[in-house]
């Protein structure tokens, strides 16, 4: 091949040649892709978010705040936070235990267990709620006994916790399993040969290795626990001021045409989700060097 054929028209003297990365697209394609992505984000995410806050503040800040400080509203917020505070540690513990079991041991029925962990993803939350009612309702064997001993499950906080834990069960385990599989067992084996007990291995070697995955799982779990509607709607009985969580309250207020109150509550719920997200981003920024070091390893 002659050298002449390699020279492109761009290579005229006095004009700097422009290169672009081999994987980069031409300008029109790039603009089109960016346009589609931005439009999608705007229509599907930003617009609803803005609407929620706009509707909430339709009658001004005072009205929105007043609707949130009513006893029923405060009870709903407290209940949602309480349920999340109970469900999160439970699921973190279940998730770590399940991921540990699946990745560190070989046993029969492992594939079945993994499928079982995923079950809450595929079962409708309403069905899950119904199952809890059937199992623990006052008419059932267990439920009857529990009610008789002053510990009602359905239409009470334990039922809501059960429903929430069920629905959010896979989040932590699902985040942890791939990370733990990739990490393998070698580091734990080193720690064992160096004389560390099982607990110490977990605290000093395993947990630091999975902490980021655990955090992501926990954040997803938190967001879902706060927002869960279907399963909780069935088991809670929607008793205002008692078993109505934030999502349930939003629906009830909306059905009663109390749009400012409904959207204020919705805005509060959204704000909680945004706080969770901000927390995650802040942690990532703060530990960016550490994250990079671990990934490079």
């Amino acid at each position: 091949m002659s050298d002449a054929s390699l020279i492109t028209p761009d290579a005229r003297p006095g004009r700097p040649r422009k290169f672009r990365a081999a994987t980069a697209e031409a300008a029109p394609a790039r603009l089109a892709l960016i346009g589609i992505a931005l439009t999608g984000v705007a229509i599907l995410i930003l617009a609803p978010l803005a609407t929620v806050f706009a509707e909430a503040l339709a009658d001004g800040w005072a009205a929105a705040l007043a609707s949130l400080t009513k006893p029923d509203a405060r009870s709903a917020i407290q209940l949602t936070l309480l349920i999340t505070a109970i469900a999160l540690p439970l699921n973190a513990a279940f998730g770590v235990a399940a991921a540990w079991l699946i990745t560190k041991f070989d046993f029969r029925g492992k594939a079945f267990l993994i499928t079982l962990i995923d079950l809450p993803f595929s079962v409708s939350p309403v069905v899950a709620g119904l199952c809890i009612v059937l199992l623990f309702g006052a008419n059932s064997l267990i439920g009857g006994w529990l009610v008789a001993h002053g510990l009602p499950i359905v239409f009470a906080i334990p039922g809501i916790v059960l429903a929430t834990v069920f629905v959010t069960f896979p989040f932590v385990a699902r985040e942890l399993i791939p990370v733990m599989i990739e990490q393998g067992r070698t580091e734990e084996e080193v720690a064992l040969t160096l004389g560390a007990s099982g607990w110490r291995v977990f605290w000093t070697v395993t947990l630091p290795n999975i902490r980021w995955a655990l955090l992501y799982g926990a954040l997803l779990c938190t967001a879902r626990a706060m927002g869960e509607f279907g399963a909780v709607a069935v088991v809670s009985g929607k008793i205002r001021g008692k078993t109505a969580t934030m999502p349930i309250t939003i629906e009830m207020l909306y059905n009663e045409y109390l749009s400012v109150a409904a959207f204020s509550m919705a805005a509060a719920l959204t704000a909680l989700a945004l706080i969770t997200l901000t927390l995650k981003t802040a942690l990532e920024l703060r530990h960016a060097d550490q994250l990079a070091a671990i990934r490079r390893h």
Partner: protein, 359 residues
């Protein structure tokens, strides 16, 4: 600590990985387990460490039954092939790990731990890396840290799994010499696994050649080199050429073969195999020989020759370029091996140790 292993067997599912291992390791010895992948050497190492349990057999260390001890109680220093440093800990914390995880009653004082780690950092020649994280180290540096972490607990036995497998050639040579020095200073009984015969022979006092879950031969570098116990060992030692020969009175005979330089062997008369290394064959021009030089290449220091013989069989011969005789492609040559191992199809004539070599 002397290690005594008897009748060790181990299967994973249907595959038998160890088929009866008997081995005695002397106190302070540096022993290599050498074998191709799948020979069971790593499994044997992991059983000694307590990371794997045998199906049958005994493992006694300094008079103590180690199969009754969990890994934590054995005081093992285990260095993994890919180091497995704790990524979230500094080099200092990595090395100190085995001391800091001890129960409070057995744990040395913090100042003492620091002193131990400082000593090790100096011994490992990496005091400047103390506060780095593993992600910021090169392969050779990681290897040193991994060894330091294992040595910190003053292990009864030091076990290394392919310690230099992931490093490039120049660093390997350095680390090898350095490991030898460390072993001389610490004096701990050391077993390392490798598939690299050069590494095994250069570093170890004795080498255990393993193949297919069994020990094929145990000996010093010279013993194994001079008297490979089986065709497998000979081949693993680099004898990549197998010639069909007729054995008569302990000598190999074949057309175009001049076995004068080889010592007689104690193998039965009849058909057999002669195992040769490409770099231990001299060529002599001989028009009557069936071996024809068909290819001649050079890598700068050595000539790489291909000879084609009876039945179109081909063999490789490597000769130093300097001092090589004039070689013309198409010429006929007689093979005069300087080293070789012969095995009769009928087996040895007597149980006495056979001699199969010349200088």
């Amino acid at each position: 600590m002397t290690i005594s292993i008897t009748g060790l067997t181990k299967s994973f599912d249907a595959t038998q990985v160890l088929r009866g291992i008997d081995l005695k390791v002397e106190d302070g010895e540096l022993l290599a387990l050498l074998g191709p992948s799948g020979s069971g050497k790593t499994t044997l190492l992991r059983i000694i460490a307590g990371l794997e349990w045998p199906d049958a057999g005994q493992l006694v260390v300094a008079g103590q039954d180690w199969l009754a001890l969990p890994a934590q109680k054995r005081r093992i220093g285990f260095v993994f092939q890919h180091y497995a440093l704790f990524p979230h800990m500094t080099v200092r914390d990595n090395i100190a790990f085995g001391l800091t995880v001890r129960p409070r009653s057995e744990r040395p004082a913090p100042a003492q731990i620091d002193a131990t780690v400082d000593n090790l950092l100096n011994l490992l020649q990496i005091p400047h890396l103390a506060d780095r994280f593993p992600g910021q180290l090169s392969g050779g540096q990681r290897q040193r840290v991994a060894l330091g972490r294992a040595l910190a607990i003053q292990p009864a036995v030091l076990l290394l799994d392919e310690p230099f497998g992931a490093l490039d050639a120049a660093i390997r040579r350095d680390l090898r010499r350095w490991l030898r020095e460390v072993h001389e200073k610490t004096g701990s009984t050391t077993i390392f696994v490798t598939h690299d015969q050069e590494e095994a022979f250069e570093l170890a006092d004795r080498v255990v050649v393993m193949g297919d879950g069994q020990i094929s031969q145990i000996g010093t570098a010279d013993e194994i080199h001079d008297h490979p116990a089986s065709a497998f060992v000979a081949q693993f030692m680099g004898a990549s050429i197998t010639l069909p020969v007729t054995l008569r009175g302990g000598r190999a005979e074949a057309p175009g073969l001049d076995a004068r330089e080889l010592m007689t062997c104690a193998e039965a008369d009849g058909p057999g195999q002669l195992h040769l290394r490409p770099d231990s064959i001299a060529l002599e021009s001989d028009p009557a020989s069936p071996w024809v030089l068909t290819r001649k290449d050079s890598n700068g220091t050595d000539l790489r020759l291909v000879l084609t013989g009876p039945d179109d069989s081909q063999i490789d011969v490597d000769l130093p370029r300097r001092g090589a005789p004039a070689l013309v492609v198409g010429g006929h040559f007689r093979l005069r091996p300087l080293w070789g191992a012969m095995f009769s199809d009928a087996g040895p004539v007597a149980p006495a140790a056979p001699i199969r070599l010349s200088a």
